[in-house]
Amino acid sequence: MKHLLSIEDLDRTQLEQLLDLSERFVEVTRRDIPKVPALRGKTVVSLFYEDSTRTRISFETAAKRLSADTMTFTVASSSVNKGESLRDTVQTIEAMGIDAVVVRHPHAGAPHRITGWIDAAILNAGDGRHQHPTQALLDVLTLRLHRGPSLEGMRIAIVGDVRHSRVARSDVQAFTALGAQVTLVGPPTLLPEAVETWDVDVSHDLDAVLAEVDVLYLLRIQLERQGEALFPSLREYTSRYGLTAARAARLAKDALVMHPGPINRGVEIAAEVADSSASIITQQVASGVAVRMAVLYTLLGSGGPVA
């Protein structure tokens, strides 16, 4: 494994090996000195063409806890504003002597393009509507830490704007590859084209699936898409698909609530539900550092479980 571009590139064994390794790094991150020397001398660059706080900081924390050096390339203050192309930008960065580039880009496939231009390992931190593989890995890790190593038979509903969500694409692939049963829930305008080709069930009625799921995974309503008239109003969305306190009360007793963040309190999830004991949203963030350590270690250090 040289790059991490898509969950699709990983088979079940590779996924499970990455998750096992992630659990070792969970232990490392809990130590008083949460740092190991494994990637001393390696340099990891984050190259973000879209806003992100948690993903970028999570990757940088992961790299630092492996003793790698990190550099941040923020588009806002770079030569990209002078019209530099993506190719020139990454080739310039590579010339500085780096080992991995963590890329977020608004266009699907941009990380894959970069692999053809430079030799460094490329880690996809989100490309357009396509993929966000480390998010899916951290979601699975969070579930494993709560429910044990197997997702076999687990019933997971993913609710909201699946159509525009790279998180949903990566999550569906990871969850189903590991044996979970996924139901996508949302209005038809927010479900993907050709959803019938996905290995999932589909529902337009959150109330109908609520009581039957082990995990309710809420997607962020992308407020910037409001102008596209995909749903009549935020209030209407919340009334049909928001996890209100009343709906949360109808979840199975030990059901878990997840969200990739950042959350819109009062829209897809009520504030008191986000802060309730069923919510494992902050654990998702904690898991992010461990899975990104596992991915960086696998790409830059060990030569694999996924060699």
Binding site: R24, V28, R31, D32, V36, L39, L66, G301, S302, P305
Partner: protein
């Protein structure tokens, strides 16, 4: 951390080799990589091993003038089981319970990037090692590189008053200035040979054994 002395089951090695913490098959020295390996000698039987454990347990207590402030830390994969046995032995004649921990050294090795290096188990040391005498425990001492990594890993957990090393077999061929304080058996070997340790706790066998194996062409 919990006062636990859990000994996790070790990952089975894909292939045997002499450096206990190496996780990948290493071709035997020279061109004999396809050679068939044959049993040379039984180095220690189950009874021999039981006596070796008992003797090492006594030596540890004797060297440290008692069992106060001792903590045994086993290196994956077989060290934790051996450390547990030593702790049971010490408790049987000293009447004190010795904390036992486990240490994984993968992320501290110096050959990351040269071959696949994967962790073999969790690092769990149930007490603060600062100020204590830590006895690192492993099955075979070979190049010393695993112990070097273990010293780094241990230092991250605290500042022990002293660190000692107990191994079942010292097979020579050191590449670093490291020696064991407590040795079950000194075993002269050739580099191409394998010291194969089998313990009931870690290896799905009915009886413990340590054997010396070597390639056919290289036979005696």
């Amino acid at each position: 951390m919990p006062e636990s002395t859990r000994v996790p089951r070790a990952t089975a090695h894909a292939s045997d080799q002499s450096d206990p913490a190496s996780t990948a098959p290493v071709p035997p020295f020279g061109s004999a990589s396809t050679a068939e390996f044959l049993l040379r000698t039984q180095v220690l039987s189950a009874d021999d091993l039981r006596r070796a454990h008992t003797r090492i347990a006594h030596e540890i207590v004797e060297r440290n003038h008692g069992a106060e402030q001792l903590v045994l830390v086993g290196l994956h994969s077989r060290g934790p089981a051996i450390a547990q046995r030593l702790a049971v032995a010490i408790e049987s004649f000293e009447g004190v319970s010795i904390p036992v921990g486990t240490l994984d050294v993968a992320f501290y090795r110096d050959d990351i990037g040269l071959r696949p290096v994967q962790p073999l188990g969790p690092t769990e040391v149930p007490v603060d090692v600062t100020g204590r005498v830590v006895v690192l425990v492993d099955d075979v001492l070979f190049t010393g590189r695993t112990v070097r990594a273990a010293l780094d890993a241990l230092t991250e957990l605290g500042r022990p008053r002293a660190v000692q090393l107990a191994v079942l077999v010292d097979r020579g061929h050191r590449e670093l200035p490291i020696r064991a304080d407590f040795v079950g058996k000194n075993l002269p070997t050739r580099q191409a040979e394998d010291v194969r340790v089998r313990l009931v706790e870690t290896d799905d066998v009915d009886a413990d054994a340590i054997q010396l194996w070597g390639p056919r062409e290289d036979g005696p």
